[in-house]
Symmetry: C2
Subunit: 242 residues, 2 copies
């Protein structure tokens, strides 16, 4: 892990850009004498474009005494494109425009390569961060591509709680893997998400093997998650990470 | 409205039993110089049996600065039985034991007479309470038979927000009426409620016409609502009643 820039934000929060191998990321840490718990923040890809929203989310984490980290999604932002995903995205757009069903094949080609690449990258990020003196545990995961978060929760015992956003396509195989998840979950669903299948989201919630799982569904489209859900997520993490 | 008993509870909260016509009820009021908002507390019937749980709910209302009131359900507790409802309940038990489907006819006979009788009783209770000097508004509704709460939200503009428990049968007609509801809603659903149809609960949530509606679904059976949902309900009311 190489830190490439450092900036002081409000309340003494330190924002540091880094690279871990070929993966760029950003770490936010609050001022703290003792090691702090960590929240891994997922996003839809494009660190540059997402930066203002990521900073806002990070500052609400640091205000609660967590460090927050995010890494670039495979094939997004300044990272090399993933041809297979770009092709699948084109096929998805064609299907949506033609009013045709989005096939399992398209969803698999669109999402699985991201899962395969991103999950070990998150794990390497965890290895590197938990080796830093200021960062302890427990660890939460929040948002981003739900298929990535699901696989990570299956393979990574260091994730202690996750807030998932049911706002992207889920390959059938991931729906099956969800049964192995035992991490406490808060799942957010936008009831009228134009780019998401509500029934599939409910099936995914049903599939998770976790003993504590809560679904928060709100009226509105993909980007309309109400502000009060941020507070609810913060209280969910407080119950599990403090 | 005749007060029939009066008792001082913790923190100066006043518990008063009353009758309004033939309907018995209980009112809890916090110490307050100014008129307080009011929460109508629904329950499954049987004020005596429910009393300990009702007191606990009422005290969490008064702690937030609300008055709380509940009235006995038609046909329950010390009120005269409703033969048609008792018959429907027997038919329901027979159907469940035999593993037969619960027909719309049974649900209508079980629930609609309660709705028809209880809704004007809640309205009369509101009339009487809002005429008391210590009770102002706004007004919230919380829990109880969801079909009663739905009809009340349709016909009673003085209800400003409602926390509904999707834990009882819903007649088809009420599902249609739900489209006319515009009150902000928080709907609680127990994902594995043995005596409830999950899909019907999701259909009801979908049907509500309210612009702000949130569903909180949790793993577990009918009586397993997690304690943190009480805090969430309290924050929901704080957003809408304060």
């Amino acid at each position: 892990m190489h830190f490439t820039s450092e900036k002081r934000l409000e309340d003494g929060v330190l924002e540091r850009e880094f690279t871990l191998g070929e993966v760029p990321g950003i770490l936010w840490t609050p001022e703290s004498a003792a090691p702090v718990p960590l929240i891994l923040m997922g996003h839809p890809g494009g660190l540059g474009r997402m930066h203002p929203r990521l900073v806002a989310r990070a500052l609400s984490c640091t205000a609660e005494g967590y460090a927050a980290v995010t890494i670039e999604l495979p094939g997004a932002g300044d990272r090399p494109r993933l041809a297979v995903v770009d092709e699948a995205r084109a096929d998805l757009q064609r299907a949506l425009k033609a009013g045709e069903p989005v096939t399992d094949d398209i969803v698999d080609r669109l999402v699985l390569p991201l899962v395969e690449k991103a999950v070990p990258e998150w794990q390497a990020t965890l290895d590197a961060l938990l080796a830093l003196p200021g960062i302890g545990g427990p660890v939460g995961f929040s948002g981003g591509v739900i298929a990535i978060a699901t696989r990570l929760a299956v393979v990574e015992p260091r994730v202690d709680a996750a807030v998932l956003f049911a706002g992207s396509y889920v390959p059938r195989g991931i729906l099956e893997e969800a049964r192995q998840v035992t991490t406490p979950l808060l799942v957010l669903l936008q009831w009228d998400d134009e780019g998401n299948d509500r029934q599939q989201a409910l099936d995914l919630f049903d599939a998770f093997g976790s003993k504590e799982k809560t679904l928060h569904a709100n009226l509105g489209g993909h980007t309309g998650v109400p502000r009060f859900e941020g507070d609810d997520a913060s209280r969910f993490f407080a119950r599990h990470l403090k």
